[in-house]
Amino acid sequence: MGYLLTRLDEKILSFNKTSKKALVAYLVAGDPDLDSTLELMHGFVSAGVDILEIGVPFTDPIAEGPIIQAAHDRALKNNTSLNNIFQLVERFREKNTDTPIILMGYINTFLANAEALKEAHQSGTDAVLIVDIPGESNLEDLGIKNEHLASISLIAPTTSEDRIGKICNSSSGFIYYVTLRGVTGSSHLNIQEAESNINYIRSQTSLPVFAGFGIKTPDDAFNLSKISDGIVIGSSLVQMIHEQSDQKEYKKIYNYLHEMAEAISR
């Protein structure tokens, strides 16, 4: 199908070979400012993060809990645009050429920048994750035309079995399993339900399945890593970044990530 192997695919192949679980970390570009985001991205990687998920701020992020909403608002006050984020990725690639980067956001901002997205892979972006489109959507049909970008889809506890099949067929990179009913940062983790759903997803696809939403502690990370191929951490990082928005002393965050990385390799 003419699909090209991306940095993300290569990373995932290397996990398959070593049975290593992936640690994916989310942060909002431009919160507290783009220079700090760049510093944090490098710091995350040094602390053991395998894949970076960059939140693209939007005025109306309906899938986010209060912590990430507030981060979106702060980033927008700093006028963070998708074009700024492409520049951010380009700067990051000056020192790091192998950590995959996923842009996570809402369809309206991506459509408004559809032209620029055609070039996004050239500045070093590897994938997009659009929260508010049906999982089986084809990005090209929506107007986002770039065959170099993987399209990550979400599957929720409420997704029906027939749609899981369709979503897996239209996804690339990995499947992002939403571990709870709720917005980001909620706390209703249900490990048993997650396990049976992830097993079903695995029966439908050879793509790895990562779990996210509501993972806060090393124990959460450990438990979910046992039943999935990797975990995504977001709200707790965004909260810690915000608490350091004045001092910008990120050591505590890196220690936390280090603990999470250890927990999933136990």
Partner: protein, 401 residues
């Protein structure tokens, strides 16, 4: 202009507009709602239950009233008023909630949520929830909680909880965001009664269908009272439910002009308005593609309107399709015109319209001259103005304390 009546298509699109752009967690609930509505909408018992509620609880049909002094004032067409302001709870919003609460009941949902701007939909939702003894939560922008305090108190009296939303612009769009977050979190036991022809499919269709009783009554009443269909129908458009309800049964009557009136706020040129059909671009917000007020990066921009119910950056997707197809025309009137019109209608007709509705009346200044004295223009009086007394007094520089 073919087949406007048969929309949306099975995927929820009206031409280019509509769809289901929501987080994955909601997809199953939308499908469930679509299926149960398809099953129930032609079920005789369901129809009879709604009809009975509309007659005995809402007080339908609402009258079609000849506005003699307003007609004399403009000395143009005969002006008729479709009196949705006389419905129980004071606006057209109850037509939709009476229907949707029965869908909630059929689906076995125990908890009801809704967003509201002016508070009319909040009151209409709290009313039907109270009647069935269901737990009810109303999300309302903190700015709107202030300017519509009377309705906030009504909602509380009806036993519902009001959640003031501080995020973003603290108006209707933010209330919708928060209601959607609640729904994502409580999807199993919660039914979300969306209050306008907005949101993901199937909501724009369901809300239109439940409000279409207004247009169906008008078809009959206009024939009985002036022996023809109206030459024009005028309705205010925020999300656009009262307009869609009265327009829909006339989509195939190409001699009937359909005129939607948006909120020009401080003026279309000022940028401080809520008129996406007049000055917006297609975009995606709250689950549907439609005209939207946004900047070049796809960020939704702040809106302004004197009327909380119209203070919304988007519009129902079916209106976007009616605009592009040319079947309906959309104009905009500013806050000053609306306030003048509010006073004019109150004094001439003894009818105090809601500020939302006053937009439709204010359109007469622009369009009355296009019609002759043997023609008939119908204004949809979508709601009454009691809730707006404080706002009007403030605008007029009068203290009520």
């Amino acid at each position: 202009m073919n087949n406007l009546t048969d929309l949306p298509n099975p995927d929820g699109f009206f031409g280019d507009y509509g769809g289901k752009f929501v987080p994955e967690t909601l997809m199953h609930a939308l499908k469930e709602l679509d299926e149960i509505y398809a099953k129930l909408k032609n079920n005789p018992e369901f129809i009879e239950e709604i009809d009975q509620d509309l007659v005995q609880f809402v007080g339908r049909p609402s009258p079609l009233y000849f506005a003699k002094r307003l007609t004399d004032y403009y000395s143009g067409p005969q002006i008729w008023l479709k009196r949705e302001d006389l419905n129980h709870t004071g606006a057209h919003k109850i037509n939709n909630t009476v229907g949707q609460i029965l869908l909630a009941k059929a689906m076995g949902k125990k908890r009801i949520i809704a967003e509201t701007g002016a508070g009319q939909h909040g009151v209409a939702t709290a009313t039907v929830a109270a009647r069935l003894g269901l737990e009810c939560h109303i999300y309302m922008g903190a700015a709107d909680v202030k300017r519509q305090s009377l309705n906030v108190y009504r909602i509380k009296l009806l036993g519902a909880k009001v959640h003031a939303v501080d995020s973003g612009t603290a108006t209707l769009k933010d209330a919708l965001n928060e209601a959607m977050r609640d729904w994502v979190t409580n999807i199993e036991d919660t039914y979300y009664i969306i209050g306008s022809v907005t949101g993901p499919h199937p909501y724009p269709m369901i809300v239109r269908d439940f409000n279409a009783i207004v247009g169906r009554e008008l078809r009959k009443q206009s024939m009985e009272q002036f022996m023809q269909y109206p030459d024009a129908i005028v309705a205010c458009v925020g999300g656009g439910s009262n307009a869609m309800g009265i327009f829909y049964p006339f989509l195939e009557e190409s001699n009937v002009d359909l005129i939607g009136v948006e909120a020009a706020g401080s003026g279309l040129m000022s940028g401080k308005h809520a008129a996406p059909l007049n000055d917006g671009e297609p975009g995606i917000l709250h689950g549907a593609k439609s005209y939207l007020m946004q900047d070049e990066n796809g960020q939704v921009v702040d809106t302004h309107s004197i009327s909380a119910g119209l203070d919304y950056p988007g519009v129902g997707p079916e209106h976007s399709n009616l605009k592009d197809s040319g079947r309906a025309n959309y104009i905009a009137v500013d806050d000053d015109e609306v306030l003048s019109s509010f006073h004019l209608v109150t004094k001439l007709e003894g009818i105090m319209p809601a500020l939302e509705t006053a937009h439709a009346f204010a359109a007469l200044e622009h369009i009355a001259k296009n019609y002759k004295s043997n023609q008939h223009v119908v204004i949809n009086v979508s709601g009454r103005g009691d809730k707006d007394i404080n706002t009007v007094a403030t605008m007029d520089g009068i203290s009520l304390d």
